[in-house]
Symmetry: C2
Subunit: 245 residues, 2 copies
């Protein structure tokens, strides 16, 4: 983020400035965290333990930490989202993938007060996804298939955040960094195809998918990796994402 140096006049003005002249909204981040489990696209939902909407399912999220002084203005939005992701999943760092999808700020979306939420979508590897359930109070957090999640009545306007995030995920799936965030550190082409099929909810031609994929190999985005898969038929070759072959 590029920022510009202050003039002396600006600096003097800042010292005099009185905040709180106008009411301010609270600002939160809410996350649609996706992974693939048992060939279903799932998202992490939290059962709210407090009002409002107590007992209802909601996207994980929380308030953005805003410093109380000019010197300390708190954390960035991305940092807030990343922090919530870690806190709610209990997973170690590994950002996986995290992208903002926009601000959601209709009045009265929260009955307590004016709250503006910045929506994110996040991806975690399936292998890690399985750990989340175990690490948390089972009744508190749950992987729910996106289809089911959209049928439940979520708290606040989380339904619309989820829908927007899902659309964004589908848009981004063509990009390699997104595509590889939902498979293991090593993977086969059929594994990757299965993920695409689940997300787009349609079967894909194996041959054609393979050809699209092979461009990434030619471009050096991925490389062959050692390893095998146990299969009831011909085993596929294993690849890995290649950030610095």
């Amino acid at each position: 983020m590029s920022r510009v140096r202050l003039t002396d006049e600006d600096a003097r003005f800042v010292e005099k400035y009185r905040p709180d002249a106008y009411p301010r909204p609270a600002v939160t981040v809410d996350l649609a965290i996706f992974t693939v489990i048992d060939a279903r696209l799932v998202t992490l939902l939290i059962k709210r333990k407090e009002a409002p909407y107590r007992g209802r399912w909601a996207l994980p999220g929380g308030f953005v930490r805003v410093g109380s002084s000019r010197k300390d203005q708190g954390e960035s939005l991305d940092d807030a989202a990343s922090r919530e992701l870690r806190e709610e999943t209990g997973l170690p760092l590994d950002p996986g993938y995290l992208e903002q999808v926009g601000a959601f700020g209709e009045p009265n979306r929260d009955p307590r007060m004016r709250v503006i939420s910045v929506g994110y979508f996040a991806l975690v590897r399936p292998a890690l996804g399985a750990l989340v359930q175990a690490g948390t109070d089972a009744s508190h957090a749950e992987w729910v298939s996106v289809k089911d999640a959209q049928k439940r009545t979520l708290a606040f306007d989380h339904e619309s955040i989820l829908t927007t995030a899902l659309a964004r995920l589908r848009e981004r799936l063509g990009s390699s960094s997104v595509a590889f965030a939902l498979v293991g550190k090593t993977f086969t082409i059929p594994e990757l195809r299965a993920v695409h099929e689940v997300i787009h909810n349609q079967v894909l031609d194996p041959g054609n998918f393979r050809r699209r994929f092979l461009r990434w190999l030619e471009d050096g985005v991925i490389e062959e990796a050692p390893g095998r898969r146990i299969t009831p038929s011909k085993p596929a070759s294993v690849y890995r994402f290649c950030k610095s072959c």
Copy 2:
């Protein structure tokens, strides 16, 4: 926006709720308002009359009006953007086109306090664009070619908002509603092509462009309109956007 009815418990809780427990950020909307003038893509910049960054050029924008009570939570983000658009351009309603591009909330992007800005991009017709300059204090607001705007050092992080907005505009240009927002109420194919050329900064084949365009005609998105253009060569036929032929 779908929202869910409160339970009685929720309602009771809301009554007790004490806001202001944590510091809150100020929230603004900032707009990249585009139009085409003299075959240049231009955006409206405001010369700041107050600190911080006094005298520097900035995107038009302002604080989101947040009500001070639970009953009145103020205006929506879209409404705030739409209001600023009207206030800064002095143009009558006619939304033209307005779309959110995301939240920009790095700490210290504003030296006074933590400010989170929601960026929008807006389109106004060229014919209207010319009026804006006249209606405002000339030294206050100015149409600046996007290329020049990106060379000037804009206030805050407006450079990054502008860049993001421009990218979004280019993405959306294929959609009819966006494409037609930058030409007159009636227009010719060459006029429309000129707009595309300016925005994508490349010359387009007239024949091929025409064919792409004609699909919209077949789909009934547009229709022929009466009228002519004064030209030094063969005049093109005139069309109009057709919301309910």
